[in-house]
Amino acid sequence: MLDSSFAALVPILCVTLAAVAVLFAEAFRREGEQMPIGGLGVIGLGFALAGCVVLWNRNASSLGVIEADNFGLFVSAVICVAGLLTIAFSGQVIRRDGLPSGEYYALTLFATAGMIIMAVASDLLTIFLALEILSISVYVLTGLRRDSPSASEAAFKYFLLGAFSSAFFLYGVALTYVLTGSTQLADIAAWMGNEGLNVTPMMLIALGLLLVGFAFKISAVPFHMWTPDAYEGAPTLVTGFMSTGVKAAAFAAFIRVFLSAYEPLRADWTPVLWGIAMLTMIVGTVVGVAQGNLKRMLAYSSIAHAGYLLVGLVAANEIGRASILFYLLVYAVTNLGAFGIIALLSTADRPHEELRDFAGLWHTRPALAALMAVFLLSLGGLPPTAGFVAKWYVFSAAVRAGFYDLAIVGMLTSVISVFFYLRVVVMMYMAEPADPQVRPAVGAVPLAALVVSTAALFYLGILPTRMIDLAAASVGTIF
């Protein structure tokens, strides 16, 4: 009984232990000694990933608040992949930027643990705590470059607004508790199932407040304002990590809460999410057009992608849920790849994140330029990359549910988004290098990670069947 009862915790434990191990390693590290601390993280995440695989189809449940169902495991796996990719790019970057490596890895792993908890939690309080774990870790990661005013500013903005929004979220939890007397999603679902036909204002307000909390974390409009600033100010890899991992975790919880506990109120939240999805897609892409800083541009792009993911949630059918999972995976790989390249090209004294910095990259670094182009085209949703299949999947959910308007707006905005992705491609391929700037060399490990990511994008773009089936299986049995 006991082992089955703790089985669901395995991925979380692996990551947490790795984090603690990292802290210990850092503590015993002599000044100036190089230590492969990142390796600990890789081991932890690798075991967590393996745990996800082992737990597959077991529906393990621990301590009444952790449900390692396939849905949660899929998202956990996505988060682990995001973490692994981040760590793969990190070694070189943190050495170069002089970031405190022990804290960096520890916090990354703490955040990962929080994300995984969030993905598998079946209790609102646990979700809130997980949210805080990952948020606080990420706030700190954002401000890790203490010497940089903009990093501190970004971290503080992110922190302040995050705290602000989690207060709303918590208030939503409280009101839910007031109504139902429980924070367990199953209990809430049961209560809502009984009272669902008789909607009271309190239910709506609780719903609205929870929605705001989630919308903030996935950076949906109009709760998105922190995103560009935080993304721009944070160390590039952290940006990549939080744009993918946080989003995945938040979406997992979002889906879980809204499609289980608050499922009976679907008629009430669908219009709001519809509007938010519309706004998010439009604002994200339109403002993205005007950006000259690549990180900022990708921030708006990430807002837009949140909109596309919301489309899947609004559709709320089998396809919608599965498509979100697929999308999250693809987005994680793609976006981390793009941010990884930006990070790898930057040096501490010479950031490589403005559009013009990319001028003529093709001439000096053809391979990196090609990889970057693939990532950007995948973000833009062009076949044969995985980004296309992901978008197709999400929009087919919308069409299936009859939301043609969302599908059409989504499609059109993704065309607009192609415009700004292509601006980078234009710079890399069609502009001459402005000044012969020295771009740092890229190590073997990050390069391998990039190549693997690209291969994965093509694999998922050309032969997505297995992953689609997997995603469908993840959601098929749960809600």
């Binding site: 706030y139 903009s150 503080f156 007031v178």
Partner: protein, 102 residues
């Protein structure tokens, strides 16, 4: 008036919560803004405790315990950030930190 019901507490907490939110974007001092968030969390705590009382369960207080932990963690990180910010700009005015925009 009359008897104090759950609703009294809920309304009170709503008022406190709103005061907190107002503080967040009305004040021009980072510390006060953090305090405002504390007010919001406390308002929520009141709701939990009142509801726990209403349901005659300890859950409310337990949750408050966790929320306080969270508040402590947030305060620690938040204040650390404030210190970091102050080191850069010698100011606690949020309007001094607008280098990231557009």
């Amino acid at each position: 008036m009359g008897d104090i019901t759950l609703n009294h507490y809920l309304v009170l907490s709503a008022i406190l919560f709103s005061i907190g939110t107002a503080g967040v974007f009305l004040r021009r001092n980072l510390i006060t803004i953090l305090l405002s968030i504390e007010i919001m969390l406390n308002a929520v705590n009141l709701t939990f405790v009142a509801a726990g009382r209403f349901f005659a369960a300890v859950d409310g207080q337990v949750i408050v315990f966790f929320v306080m932990t969270v508040a402590a963690a947030e305060a620690a990180v938040g204040l650390a950030l404030v210190i970091a910010l102050f080191r850069h700009r010698e100011s606690l005015n949020p309007e001094a930190f607008t280098s990231l925009k557009w």
